[in-house]
Symmetry: C2
Subunit: 444 residues, 2 copies
Amino acid sequence: MRRFFRYPVRLVPFGFLVAILLGTGLLMLPQASVEYEYTPFTTALFTATSAVSVTGMSVVDTHTYWNTFGLVLITVLTQVGGLGILTGAALVILLVARQLGLRNRLLVQAETTEYGIGNVRGLLLRIAVIALVCEAAITLVFAGRLWLGYDYPPGRALWYGLFHAVQAFNNGGFSLYPDSLLRFARDAWICLPVAAGTIIGGLGFPAIFDAARTWRRPSRWGVATKLTVWGSLALLVVGFAGLLAAEWANLRTVGSYGWSGKVLAVATQSASLRTGGFQFIDMAELDEESYPLLIALMFIGGGSASTAGGIKVGTFFLLASVIWAQVRGEPDVTVGSRRIAGTSQRQALTVALLSVALVVAGTTVLIGLAEDVRDYRVLFEVVSAFSTTGVTAGLAAHLDDAGQFVLIALMYVGRVGPLTLGSAIALNTRRRLYRYPEEQPIVS
Amino acid sequence: MRRFFRYPVRLVPFGFLVAILLGTGLLMLPQASVEYEYTPFTTALFTATSAVSVTGMSVVDTHTYWNTFGLVLITVLTQVGGLGILTGAALVILLVARQLGLRNRLLVQAETTEYGIGNVRGLLLRIAVIALVCEAAITLVFAGRLWLGYDYPPGRALWYGLFHAVQAFNNGGFSLYPDSLLRFARDAWICLPVAAGTIIGGLGFPAIFDAARTWRRPSRWGVATKLTVWGSLALLVVGFAGLLAAEWANLRTVGSYGWSGKVLAVATQSASLRTGGFQFIDMAELDEESYPLLIALMFIGGGSASTAGGIKVGTFFLLASVIWAQVRGEPDVTVGSRRIAGTSQRQALTVALLSVALVVAGTTVLIGLAEDVRDYRVLFEVVSAFSTTGVTAGLAAHLDDAGQFVLIALMYVGRVGPLTLGSAIALNTRRRLYRYPEEQPIVS
Ligand SMILES: [K+]
Ligand SMILES: [K+]
């Protein structure tokens, strides 16, 4: 066991697993459900995984199934999943890193280079402050609106505000309403803070800190920050424009709204698809042309080391840069006057292709298990789970246990990251002291 | 114009384009159709593109629409597409390569390293001999079987044998029967030569020559040959086993056959899916579980510099090696005691991701154009066109002109190769005399 954990890359998947199993045990207790009965293992496991992985997909109606204790549990698990384990694991790795040889240090470079070794306490503090300030702000606006605009009693308004604020900032996606946040799709007081929280939480701390440090001079940002910030902006615009065009006349979604309602609902939904998970548009009623766009947005996801999932914006645009360089016949891959190291390229490639493979595998298995569903909704649901987005086209709740286990596995792997999980399992712990001669095979 | 063609990577897409346009013009003539009328431009363009790109998809019934002159044209275009342009362009590039600087030489290394500079005439001869011997052998067996087993008159048997032999070896996929080769699914005399021709033509000359040169010592094969030969074998086995399991009890395909009929039909079909294109099983009646497997097999395709399409077997397994190395935390990517150069990795990555992007884009557009088709058949058809496989789930013939143009574009890009086409358009013809400092962004 000690030998196993000598490699810090193995701590992350293990930490998530422990949190999920603890959450499952607690959610199974009668004290957590409205009916005061033991919750079946699969339901509890699904809910705990969905919360810890900040997916927000559910197989029961959140508000009518779980009582206050259950909902608090979900809130805590979401907060732990979105912030705690992520930063916790990063910090553990950071601390352990100093005792490691060069090769292992390469594996943990992710955290060390971004956070800066030696400032652990300051880092923790800054992360906590950002999270608390954002969540408090969203809570206040959300609760105030429910209180003043919808006549909720103050206590209930506050609880609803807090619950959805935590979900929004952590890109969680659980909702106390059976229709997610659909009923607020044209209410800017709800839409805007939720969208803002989703975007900030989904940018990731490395990008936020780096951008904040030199916000007057974007040209001085690191490559990862540039890719993440400008890439996120581009994806928001593309998602907004594409979804607006596809759904403009769809009467089952936003077709009946006025133009400002259309703009608000579509803008909020496109922010929430990367990978917040609240629904402001009914995903089961989308125009079929919207599916490929939404699937792509979910698959790309948010920023690195953020509360969002997917292959990450930086990965996507780094790969785009590699392709562009190759097509142009350039010897180097450059982003904003910086040459991208081969190891970063390989890492991005691995993450993207492993993700494609997992989505294909998950879709294949689920098609077999859900024989009556014959369109792109299976793929949609699989990408939603894997990218920890959590929007649903109505499939999750109708799956049997086997189907639910597939989604559980996808949420877990999606949150931990396929490369991290793969490394944890297959890491070569012996060092090779020689190199083979190089060859340049032509394979395309 | 001369300036444009100073970069030989631009010759390949141009050559295919010329052949397609010539073919379109000839096929439009009344002399080519049974009805002796002018063929509409879109139909002729689709057929010419389908033949030159060795896809074999068709929008009219090949045998009842085209007369003998038309069918001979299709045969010639297939032969030109499968062999002529491919080797022709390779040779032109080979010849031009000597006059080029280092950077352009990198772009054409594909051909030069594999074929060996300086042996152009010998190379041409060997390619021609292999093609002719294979096609003659298939013709003889096919024609003999039709003559002796199905009572065809000798001349007709020979013509049918020749037509399908050319299609088989070139991975073309056009057939003189309205049901492709479905009626012969349990006839080993037809299945086996067609499957053998498809596999040999789809391995590619580099792999065939390299493997033949040192066939006693597979350990001495080049990396590309190892990846291609062993990878093709693995894919054949996986395709056979997966398809057999999925379709075993499907009465609309092979469920009613005896076990030997099932084995023969499924084995031949799985060989033909990478990317021969004859149908021995009705693709419109497949069990839905089969689609992901078939889509994956088509997408991967055959060997490099072969008559098959797809991203290529070598690309796929090279990327698998990159992923494996990254997951294991290895500093180098190795295949059989050879380190893989970064430039090869980048090339494979670019081909794979550009292909994914094109398939996604094509599917998105076609979903919009074929509003009534709501399952995976659109994706199936798009991958079939892009990988120049040409099997159809029944969509192609029902598309309007716009939809047909999408498939035409996919077949063309699929045959030329997205990296080659992209480079031809976007090649940076100015040299950069400086390098930027390196950075190692962490993006996943
Ligand atoms: K989510
Ligand atoms: K074909």
